[in-house]
């Protein structure tokens, strides 16, 4: 009998050299995390679906692999480490010494429509910091994210910074009769026509990623922006090899105001600083993170929480350098059929 070597859509086996490279990067990252005082936690690949229901968006729900176990329980394959960690740690918090620093590594599985380069299994390394108040926690975690991101092979490296709810006031003011979630989606795609000319402040933000004046965001968001600028400047000097940009439009669909519909997109639990890393030329992030106190609050625990995850396959393989001009020149001779 001939057995096909084909794997299900979106799955990949790493053989020999590919496995060595992945383990090499993972090992260097783990060493860095342990050196920074983070301890490892190991989590199961399967869990009940029910604890995650409050944190699911339409997008993240559609990515879940769910099934009914033989004993009738509705289960889901792990699609995200952070909610699993939160739901396991929230009831244990009173007995834990804070601040708590820990990291994880392992697979998450998410359904993606069949498309070249879209995997359904992702190997992640991530870290979380619980119980450290103020901007120091964000600074520590972001610094760690930048260290780990720099360990990958893909270049250039770019990290975009923002914070949840930054545009809430502007969006509510500009929406008028337009559904505010549509406007937020248009801002995050930088659709100038969709934003229209009705709000010069929002339009400026779509074009530059920042408000013309921080005051345009309202007093609370303006203060947060000032802090973020300081953090960016500090880290930019420390990581000259990474392009660090403040861009609030990138996170327009992460609101905080209860008058706005819930955040859209895959991960919707952030409520403070947000960051997203790009490596090489590909337009999908290789990692992301932020502050998510509200997830613990929803689980009945009050604690400051910041974390991130990085996708090792995207860091290693999904970002081959763009063909150089010389190579492209050869292709330029190819004619249309």
């Amino acid at each position: 009998m001939r057995i096909s070597a084909t794997l299900p859509t979106g799955m990949a086996a790493l053989l020999f050299e590919a496995a060595r490279r992945r383990r090499g990067l993972e090992g260097r990252m783990v060493e860095e995390l342990q050196g920074a005082g983070y301890s490892e936690v190991i989590l199961p690949i399967l869990d009940y679906l029910e604890p995650y229901e409050p944190f699911l968006t339409d997008a993240s729900r559609s990515e879940l692999y769910r099934f009914i176990d033989r004993d009738g329980e509705l289960l889901a394959l792990r699609a995200d480490f952070t909610p699993m960690l939160a739901r396991l740690l929230a009831p244990r918090l009173p007995s834990l010494e804070l601040p708590l620093r820990f990291f994880y590594r392992g697979d998450v599985v998410r359904y993606q429509e069949e498309r070249a380069g879209r995997q359904r299994e992702f190997y992640q390394v991530g870290a979380e910091l619980l119980g450290l108040e103020g901007s120091d926690a964000g600074l520590e975690v972001l610094r760690l994210f930048l260290h780990l991101l720099s360990m990958g092979e893909a270049r250039p490296l770019r990290v975009v910074l923002g914070f949840a709810g930054a545009l809430d006031e502007l969006l509510l003011e500009a929406a008028g009769s337009q559904p505010v979630e549509e406007l937020a989606a248009a801002v995050s795609r930088r659709e100038r026509g969709g934003v229209g000319r009705g709000s010069p402040a929002l339009r400026h933000l779509v074009e530059t990623g920042l408000p013309d004046s921080p005051r345009d965001l309202g007093p609370r968001a303006a203060e947060k922006l000032t802090q973020l600028v300081e953090m960016r400047d500090h880290l930019a000097a420390e990581f000259p090899g990474v392009g660090l940009a403040l861009d609030l439009a990138e996170f327009a669909n992460q609101p905080l105001d209860p008058r706005l519909p819930g955040a859209s997109g895959g991960r919707a639990y952030y409520d403070g600083i947000l960051f997203r890393g790009y490596a090489g030329h590909r337009g999908l992030p290789v990692g992301a993170g932020g502050r998510y106190d509200r997830m613990f609050k929803a689980l009945g625990a009050e604690v400051a929480a910041v974390g991130f995850s990085l996708d090792l396959e995207r860091l290693l393989n999904g970002h081959a350098p763009r063909p150089a001009s010389a190579a492209a020149g050869a292709a330029a001779g190819k004619e249309a059929p």
């Binding site: 429509e113 498309r115 070249a116 380069g117 250039p156 770019r158 975009v160 795609r189 930088r190 659709e191 100038r192 026509g193 779509v206 074009e207 530059t208 990623g209 392009g243 940009a245 861009d247 990138e250 790009y278 090489g280 030329h281 590909r282 337009g283 999908l284 992030p285 970002h319 763009r322 001009s325 492209a328 020149g329 292709a331 330029a332 001779g333 190819k334 004619e335 249309a336």
Partner: protein, 208 residues
């Protein structure tokens, strides 16, 4: 240097006209030229000529920094691209077409022929009738004409093809326009150049 992906075929000339109106000549692209990859150092761009359906993937992968693709294809293919500007191209729209002038009755089940099955599935989900989606790759108008399907979802431009085939536009579902799309990472890396180009496309009043 920015790498710009442009659609081969009938969408190329209107796209080039939009760029020329915005001050980017792209000399040597289009017309009788058959090259698929051109270097235009004087204009600070490289141009790739691609099939519409492949173009979003090239931009998402970062093989190209930006490109122009129809909103119909973009909606169908999906992906996470920035869409700063839609370019006008007349009055194209995605429409539901059929042999007689009536939409399916609520509660009925029909066959719907289309090149855009994902778009059709999303759109039908909000309707009071159901549809079996039949995916075709061309000549969609023939499907309702020859009873392969009761209705079809396709692009209508002037409506002449419909008239000549005794078909009726039942409902315009969405306007269709070429979109200037940008890779998210490229935007962060070449923001100034790309914003300048987007601004010029807007100023030339080819954008909507």
């Amino acid at each position: 240097v920015i790498r710009l992906a442009l659609p081969k075929g009938r969408n190329l000339e209107p796209t080039l006209a939009a760029f020329r109106a915005a001050g980017l000549e792209l000399a040597g692209v289009g017309g009788e030229a058959r090259k698929l990859h051109l270097h235009l150092p004087g204009e600070g761009v490289e141009v790739l000529l691609l099939k519409d359906w492949d173009l979003p993937l090239y931009v998402e992968y970062g093989i190209a920094d930006c490109g122009v693709v129809g909103s119909d294809v973009l909606e169908e293919v999906g992906g996470d691209l920035l869409v700063p500007v839609r370019l006008t191209d007349g009055h194209s729209r995605m429409s539901l077409i059929g042999r007689d002038g009536t939409l399916p009755e609520p509660g009925t089940q029909v066959r719907l022929a289309t090149k855009y099955p994902r778009t059709a599935r999303r759109w039908v989900a909000g309707r009071p009738w159901g549809a079996e989606i039949v995916r075709l790759s061309g000549s969609i108008e023939l499907a309702p004409l020859l009873d392969l399907a009761e209705i079809a979802l396709d692009i209508v431009q002037t409506g002449r093809t419909l008239e000549e085939n005794h078909l009726v536009e039942l409902e315009a579902v969405a306007p269709v326009a070429p979109c200037f799309v940008v890779n998210r990472a490229s935007y962060q890396g070449h923001r100034e150049i790309l914003n300048d180009l987007i601004g010029r496309l807007e100023a030339a009043e080819v954008a909507v």
